[in-house]
C-alpha cells in the first residue's frame, strides 16, 4: 500500500509540474493583451509600454517563466511558495487564494457530505425495489435533479425562500453586512466562528449556507443517485449476491455486501465531481454573492490577470490531485485488487 501511495504521489507531482508550465504558456495565447486592460483610461503608447514593463511582459517568455518559478534573480517565485502579485488588485495571489478557497471548500464539502448521505440511501431504495413505484420515483428524481442548471435552481430558491417566504437570509454572501467576521484562522467561517467563541456568527454562517448548499445538493445528488442505483442493481444481479441469497443470509447483510461492490465506481464519480466543483461552483457563488475561488478564477480570466490565473489553476489542480489520491486509496481499501 505504501509503495502504491508513493507511486501515486510521484505521478501527481509530475502532472502538477507539467500543468504549471503548460498553463504558463497557454494563458499567453489568450486573445487579448493584459497591458491594454491596465491602461484603460490612458491608452497612450507611452502608458502602454510602461504597463508592459511593469508587468514584465516586455521580457522574453523564458525570462518570464524564470521569474514566475523564482529561478531568476528578480525575486521570489513559485518554488519558494510565492504565487506573485495580482495585476488587478495588487495583492499577493497566495493570500487571495487563501481567502477565497476556504469559502468554496466549505460550500462544496458540506454539499458533498449531504449529497452523499442523501443519495446513497435513495439510490439503494431504487435498486432494492426494481420496477416498483419507489424505483421509478428514484429514477425520475435522478433524472430531474441532475439535468437542471444550478444557477437556475439558485435563483429560484432565492425567489421562493428569501423574497416570497422570507425564510432564508438575503443572498449577500457568507454573513449579513452588519456582522463582523471572526478573525481568520483557518479561513473557514464556520470553524473560525467557533474558534473565536462566537456561536451567533456560526449559526449565521450556517444560515447563509442553507440555500447555496441546498442548491448544490439538489444538483449533485442527481448523478450520484443514478450511479449508486445502477451499480447497486448490477451488484444485486451478480453471482456472489445470488450465492449469498441462496446461502440464506439476511437481506440487510446481502444489501451491505452489494453496496460495498457498488460504492467503488460511485466513489470515483464523487471524486471527479468534487474536483470539478472546486471551480464549477462559480455559478452558485455568483447567485449567492459568495466570494469563492470560482468567482476569483472567472475574474482573473476575464481580466487576463496571469498570476492569478496561474495560481488558481495550480491550487485547484493540486487539490484535485489530492482528492483523486484519496479516492484511489478508498477505492483500494474497498477493492484491494487495485493495489496490485
Amino acid at each position: 500500500m505504501g509503495r502504491y501511495i508513493v507511486k501515486r504521489v510521484a505521478v501527481g507531482l509530475v502532472q502538477l509540474i507539467g500543468l504549471t508550465v503548460a498553463v504558463f504558456f497557454l494563458i499567453r495565447l489568450l486573445p487579448a493583451d493584459p497591458a491594454s486592460r491596465l491602461v484603460g483610461m490612458n491608452p497612450s503608447r507611452e502608458a502602454y509600454e510602461q504597463a508592459r514593463h511593469q508587468l514584465g511582459l516586455d521580457q522574453p517568455l523564458l525570462t518570464q517563466l524564470g521569474a514566475y518559478l523564482g529561478v531568476s534573480s528578480s525575486g521570489a517565485g513559485l518554488l519558494e511558495g510565492d504565487f506573485g502579485t495580482s495585476w488587478v488588485t495588487s495583492s499577493p495571489v497566495g493570500s487571495e487564494i487563501a481567502t477565497y478557497l476556504p469559502v468554496t471548500l466549505e460550500l462544496v464539502t458540506i454539499s458533498f457530505v449531504i449529497a452523499f448521505l442523501v443519495s446513497v440511501p435513495v439510490g439503494m431504495v431504487g435498486a432494492l425495489n426494481p420496477g416498483r413505484r419507489s424505483d421509478k420515483a428514484v429514477f425520475v428524481y435522478g433524472l430531474f435533479a441532475g439535468s437542471q442548471p444550478e444557477f437556475w435552481w439558485g435563483l429560484l430558491f432565492v425567489y421562493v425562500f428569501f423574497f416570497t417566504l422570507g425564510w432564508a437570509p438575503a443572498p449577500l454572501g457568507s454573513l449579513s453586512p452588519m456582522t463582523s467576521p471572526p478573525p481568520a484562522i483557518t479561513g473557514f467561517l464556520t470553524i473560525d466562528s467557533l474558534l473565536a467563541g462566537q456561536p451567533d456568527v456560526f449559526f449565521e454562517a450556517l444560515q447563509h449556507l442553507v440555500l447555496p448548499v441546498a442548491t448544490l445538493v439538489f444538483v449533485l445528488s442527481g448523478p450520484i443517485v443514478k450511479m449508486v442505483r445502477q451499480n447497486m442493481a448490477r451488484a444485486l444481479r451478480s453471482d456472489f449476491v445470488l450465492y449469498a441469497n441462496c446461502a440464506g443470509l439476511p437481506p440487510a447483510r446481502v444489501a451491505r455486501y452489494a453496496l460495498r461492490a457498488a460504492m467503488a465506481p460511485s466513489m470515483t464519480l464523487i471524486g471527479i465531481l468534487y474536483g470539478f466543483m472546486l471551480g464549477g461552483a462559480v455559478l452558485v457563488e455568483n447567485v449567492f454573492s459568495l466570494p469563492g475561488i470560482g468567482q476569483y478564477a472567472v475574474r482573473a480570466v476575464l481580466a487576463y490577470d496571469y498570476p492569478a490565473i496561474q495560481g488558481v489553476v495550480l491550487v485547484i489542480t493540486a487539490l484535485s490531485l489530492v482528492v483523486y489520491l484519496g479516492i484511489d486509496l478508498i477505492h483500494a481499501a474497498i477493492d484491494p485488487r487495485i493495489v496490485h
Binding site: P31, A32, D33, P34, S36, L38, V39, G40, M41, N42, P43, S44, E46, A47, E49, Q50, A51, L55, W87, V88, T89, S90, S91, E96, I114, L117, P121, L155, V158, Y159, F162, F163, G166, W167, A168, P169, A170, P171, L172, G173, S176, P177, M178, T179, S180, F203, E204, L206, Q207, L209, V210, N286, V287, S289, P291, Y296, R299, L302, A303, Y304
Partner: protein, 559 residues
C-alpha cells in the same frame, strides 16, 4: 443518516428563527454594487474601473469641484459645469501672462487620522504623478491633458525628467501653491475636478512608503488612498465588501451617513429583490427592464439623470468596407433610434445629436444628422456601390457587430434590433460578443475592431475639447481613445488651436466645427444618450451625480 438529519434540522431551524437580517440602522446604509473596489490607487491597475473610482472619490478630496446647479426633475442634484468652486482650494488666481495658477489653500482641513492638509500634500501628489511609478500613470496623463508644465511624454524615456521642479508646482508657503502651465489651456480647471488629480495625505502616504515602493502604491491599492475626503476605510474585503466610515474631521462637516456598506452582489436580479425587501437602501447597474419594474414599487424610487452615458457605433476607418463614407452614412440612416429607446431603454434615453455629451460645455448640435430612414439608407448604400447590399458578403468578418459579452443583459436586446434593421436594408450584420477586456484591447490599443457597439466608454473630463481630443484627434496626435482609427486633417489642425484659444466664444466655434466635421465623416455613429439610473429607498435623499457616475456619499441623507 441520523447525523445528516440533525444537521439539516439545525440549519432549517436556524434559518426560520433568525429570519432575514435587518441592515438598516439610523445612520448606516447598505449599497448593493455589481462589484467592490479591487484597488484604490489613482495610478493603479483598477483606476479605470467605476467601482474603484467610487471608493477613490469618497475617500479623497479634489482641489476643485463644480458648484451645484440644483435638483433635476428626477430628484438628483446635478452640477453646474459653468461654475467651479474651491474644495481644498479656498481661492485662486490665474496670471495669463506667466500661465501660473496661484492656489490659496483651505485652512484647518484634516484627514481621517487628523493630519492637516498643507501645500506639501499638493506638491507630493504632483511629484507622485510625475514619477509615473504606478502601473497606470493616470495622474501624469491628466496633468498632461491640462498642460501642467513639465508633464510631458519625456518622463517615460528620461528618468531625470520625473523630478518635479519648483517652476512647475511649488509650495510658496504652507497654504499657497503655484502650478504653471506650459501653454494656455482651458482644460486646466475641468481636469482638476477628475478623480485622478485628487490630493493625497502625504504624511500618511510617506509613512507607508518602502524602498521597493517609495510612492506607497501598495498601501493605496490595498489599504486606503490616504487623503482628506469625507469617508475613511473601516473594513475592506476585496471581492466582497468595503465599509466606509465618516471622517469626523471632514472640512465640510461630518457626513450625515455614518457608515456606508458597499456589498458586492453580482446578480442584478438579486440586487433588485434585496432592495425590494428593504434590506438595502441603494443600488445601480440594474438593467433598464429591472429599473422599469421598480418604478412605483412601495418604499422605493428610481432616479435618473441625463448625464454623459451614451450608445455609439464604431466603424473602423482603416478596415474595408468601412473606409467608404457612403457605406458609413447608409448604416447611420438604417439605425432605428426610437425603437432602441423604447425597447432597449424603456424610454430612458434620447437621440444623440452630436458626438459630445449634450450637457458638456462646448457641445453643439451639428447641422449634419442621420435620422432613421430606410429608403435613404438603401439609396446611400447604392451610392456606396452596394445596391441592396450586393457585394457586401465578401466582407463577412467586417460585419460582425462586436460588443462586450458582459453587457449582454443591457446591450443584447439592442444589438438584435440593429442587426434586424441592417439586414432589412441589405447589410449582412452578424453578432459577435467578446470579453470586455478583449473589447478594450481591440478598440483602444490595437484598434482592429471593424464594427462594434459601445455603451460604456465616455469622456469624464467635462468639456467638448477633452472629448474631441481623446476620441477624434488622430491616434498619432494624441487621440488615445480614437476607437474608429479616425484621422482627419481639419480636426488634427484645429484641435491645437482650440486648445490654446482663450476666448470662450471662439473656442466653442472651433469645437462646433470639429463636431460637424466628425459627424459628416461618421467618425463614430452617435445613437442615443441614456440616463444613468439609480434605485434607492424612498427614505434616502440627496443623491448627486458627477461625470464619473460615482455616488458621493457625503450628499446623502437618511430620513
Amino acid at each position: 443518516m441520523r447525523s445528516f438529519t440533525s444537521l439539516l434540522c439545525a440549519m432549517t431551524v436556524a434559518s426560520v428563527v433568525a429570519g432575514p437580517a435587518h441592515a438598516e440602522t439610523a445612520k448606516t446604509i447598505l449599497f448593493l454594487a455589481e462589484d467592490v473596489p479591487s484597488g484604490l490607487d489613482i495610478d493603479g491597475a483598477s483606476a479605470s474601473i467605476t467601482t474603484s473610482q467610487t471608493g477613490m472619490v469618497n475617500i479623497m478630496e479634489p482641489l476643485f469641484g463644480y458648484a451645484n446647479k440644483g435638483v433635476n426633475a428626477s430628484g438628483i442634484m446635478v452640477p453646474d459645469f459653468s461654475k467651479f468652486e474651491g474644495r481644498l482650494v479656498d481661492s485662486w488666481e490665474f496670471d495669463p501672462k506667466t500661465l501660473i495658477w496661484t492656489l490659496h489653500l483651505r485652512h484647518g482641513v484634516k484627514g481621517c487620522t487628523g493630519n492637516e492638509f498643507t501645500a506639501k500634500d499638493v506638491v507630493y501628489t504632483y511629484q507622485r504623478g510625475k514619477s509615473v511609478s504606478g502601473s497606470t500613470p493616470v495622474g501624469w496623463f491628466l496633468a498632461n491633458v491640462a498642460s501642467v508644465k513639465g508633464f510631458t511624454a519625456d518622463v517615460f524615456k528620461n528618468p531625470a525628467a520625473r523630478t518635479l521642479n519648483p517652476d512647475e508646482v511649488k509650495a510658496v508657503d504652507d497654504y499657497t501653491v503655484t502650478i504653471a502651465q506650459s501653454e494656455p489651456n482651458a482644460l486646466f480647471l475641468p481636469v482638476l475636478t477628475i478623480f485622478g488629480t485628487y490630493i493625497f495625505d502625504s504624511t500618511l502616504m510617506k509613512a507607508h512608503a518602502t524602498d521597493k515602493d517609495p510612492w506607497a502604491h501598495d498601501y493605496a491599492n490595498n489599504v486606503s488612498p490616504a487623503s482628506f475626503g469625507p469617508y475613511c476605510v473601516e473594513r475592506w474585503e476585496k471581492n466582497q465588501e468595503i465599509i466606509f466610515k465618516a471622517n469626523p474631521n471632514y472640512w465640510r462637516g461630518k457626513p450625515a451617513i455614518d457608515r456606508v456598506i458597499m456589498r458586492r452582489v453580482p446578480q442584478s436580479s438579486n440586487r433588485l429583490v434585496i432592495l425590494r425587501t428593504g434590506q438595502a437602501q441603494l443600488t445601480q447597474n440594474l438593467t433598464p427592464r429591472e429599473f422599469d419594474s421598480l418604478r412605483g414599487a412601495p418604499g422605493l424610487k428610481v432616479e435618473g439623470v441625463e448625464g454623459n452615458e451614451s450608445l455609439f457605433m464604431i466603424m473602423n476607418f482603416k478596415i474595408k468596407p468601412f473606409d467608404n463614407i457612403k457605406l458609413r452614412q447608409a448604416i447611420a440612416y438604417a439605425i432605428p433610434t426610437e425603437q432602441i429607446i423604447k425597447t432597449g431603454y424603456f424610454g430612458q434615453a434620447k437621440p444623440w445629436h452630436s458626438i459630445v455629451p449634450s450637457i458638456y460645455p462646448g457641445y453643439a448640435e451639428t447641422p449634419t444628422q442621420y435620422p432613421y430612414d430606410t429608403a435613404k439608407a438603401k439609396a446611400t448604400l447604392a451610392e456606396a456601390g452596394y445596391p441592396d447590399g450586393k457585394g457586401l458578403d465578401a466582407f463577412h468578418d467586417s460585419f460582425q457587430l462586436t460588443y462586450p459579452a458582459e453587457k449582454e443583459s443591457t446591450v443584447g436586446p439592442i444589438v438584435n434590433i440593429i442587426q434586424s434593421a441592417l439586414r432589412q436594408v441589405g447589410i449582412p450584420a452578424t453578432l459577435n460578443p467578446i470579453p470586455l477586456a478583449q473589447f478594450g484591447d481591440r478598440t483602444l490599443v490595437k484598434r482592429d475592431l471593424p464594427f462594434a457597439l459601445n455603451d460604456y466608454d465616455k469622456a469624464i473630463g467635462v468639456d467638448a475639447g477633452y472629448t474631441l481630443q481623446l476620441f477624434f484627434v488622430s491616434p498619432s496626435k494624441g487621440g488615445i481613445a480614437n476607437e474608429s482609427d479616425y484621422s482627419n486633417a481639419y480636426i488634427d489642425e484645429t484641435w491645437p488651436k482650440a486648445r490654446v484659444e482663450t476666448d470662450p466664444a471662439k473656442r466653442n466655434a472651433l469645437l462646433a466645427s470639429m463636431q460637424e466635421q466628425a459627424m459628416k465623416d461618421v467618425a463614430l455613429l452617435p445613437i442615443v444618450e441614456f440616463k444613468t439610473q439609480y434605485a434607492l429607498s424612498d427614505k434616502l435623499t440627496g443623491l448627486s451625480w458627477q461625470s464619473d457616475s460615482s455616488e458621493r456619499f457625503f450628499d446623502l441623507k437618511l430620513q
